[in-house]
């Protein structure tokens, strides 16, 4: 029965006023080409309820022969759709490589920052420095860097770092921010050789505990 189909359903009902009981009247006019089944239900609603909506309290479609036949009519199409979804595209790895080749060729450096040597003209691209400093922030447990900008200050080699973080809430935020600041300052001196006058940190996001889901094709429940 289609209601048990592991195919995903959206978390919200199909439409703002979508009739849950499939009555032909409802608040929304039927679609062009819609059909009223002998039991009085709209074909479009029966289909939506079978595959697009969360399981409803409405038991009519379970027992009604007309509704079940209507749902069965699309079984082949939907099975073929699942087959398409489950195919492994063979060109995946090569595609990712080609994309990254172009991306690395179009690298964005950002502004140039002075390294801490007043005598010579030694500079580092903002994106290169930011990457190292983000890593320093990331090594603090419960902290992940988001933005990281570097701005020259004054006439000499001073640099100001401005960073936003995603932080977990299992420890007081000020303590975490303090740790991140120390880590960033340490890395700026140790790994890069930048004269950092200040590290402005804003916690802009919450870090969820547990593994972070990447989007994958949903197999059940809300998308």
């Amino acid at each position: 029965m289609a209601l048990d189909d592991p195919h995903t359903r959206p978390p919200e009902p199909p439409g703002a006023e979508g009739p849950r009981n499939g009555s032909a009247a409802g608040d929304v006019p039927p679609f062009a080409g819609d059909e009223v089944l002998p039991c009085g239900r709209l074909l479009s609603r029966v289909w939506e309820q079978a595959w697009d909506a969360p399981p409803a309290a409405d038991l009519h479609p379970v027992s009604c022969l007309h509704c079940r036949e209507a749902v069965e009519g699309l079984a082949t199409v939907n099975a073929a759709a699942r087959a398409l979804r489950d195919e492994d595209p063979p060109g995946l790895h090569a595609l990712a490589d080609r994309v990254m080749d172009v991306v690395r060729a179009e690298a964005r450096f950002g502004r140039l920052l002075p390294l801490a040597d007043p005598d010579w003209d030694l500079r580092i691209a903002e994106s290169a420095a930011a990457k190292v400093l983000r890593q320093a922030a990331d090594t603090v447990p419960g902290s992940r860097a988001a933005t990281c900008r570097l701005i020259p200050e004054g006439n000499g080699t001073d640099v100001r770092v401005t960073m936003t973080l995603a932080a977990a809430l299992d420890r007081p935020l000020p303590e975490r921010v303090h740790q991140v600041r120390r880590s960033v300052l340490h890395s700026a001196g140790q790994d890069l050789g930048l004269t950092v006058t200040a590290v402005d940190i804003t916690v802009a996001d919450v870090l969820e505990p547990g593994p972070t889901p990447g989007p994958r094709l949903p197999t059940g429940g809300g998308a």
Binding site: P89, A130, R144
Partner: protein, 191 residues
Amino acid sequence: MIERTASPRLGCDLPDRLLVVRAAEGDEDSFAVLVQRHSRSLLTLARCMLGNPQDAEEAVQDAFISAWRHLPEYRHRAEFRTWMYRITVNRCQTMRHRRPPPLPLDTVAEPAAGDAWSQPARTAEQDAVTNALSRALAELDDGQRVCWILREVQGLPYKEIAHVTRTGEQTVRGRLFRARRSLQEAMGPWR
């Protein structure tokens, strides 16, 4: 003493929105993670929209590169996934209009040499059914095809489909219904 964890070099544990922010500032490694995460579903989408794997790869490649270039302007109004779907759909539609009608999806695609992907075991009849579906898909009106693929193959909720296609949910539902009817009719002999 600063407490440290091992450096999480690859960022695979970061949510999309953090990766996007980093990539917008030029962090290529973060963008590489996004490419890994999303390329499979985008490639599936493009294959359904265009009907052949080569065009699909080109479309998805173009979409990612376009995303890289426009990341600094991306304002997070939509989720990254939604944004990528939109770019890919638009790219596919542009390509479709410039090219002759697509060939049916070759569902017995040859794996590339040395490629680790394998095809799920399938019967000849299943291949024939999927081929019939691809042909039927090619006959659909553009808007209906997109809505149907995003709903049935990608599993997106109406709301997200509406964002991707820049229409309203009612429009999505109407197109989805008409697509379902047309496909049911076209696949009639296969029931």
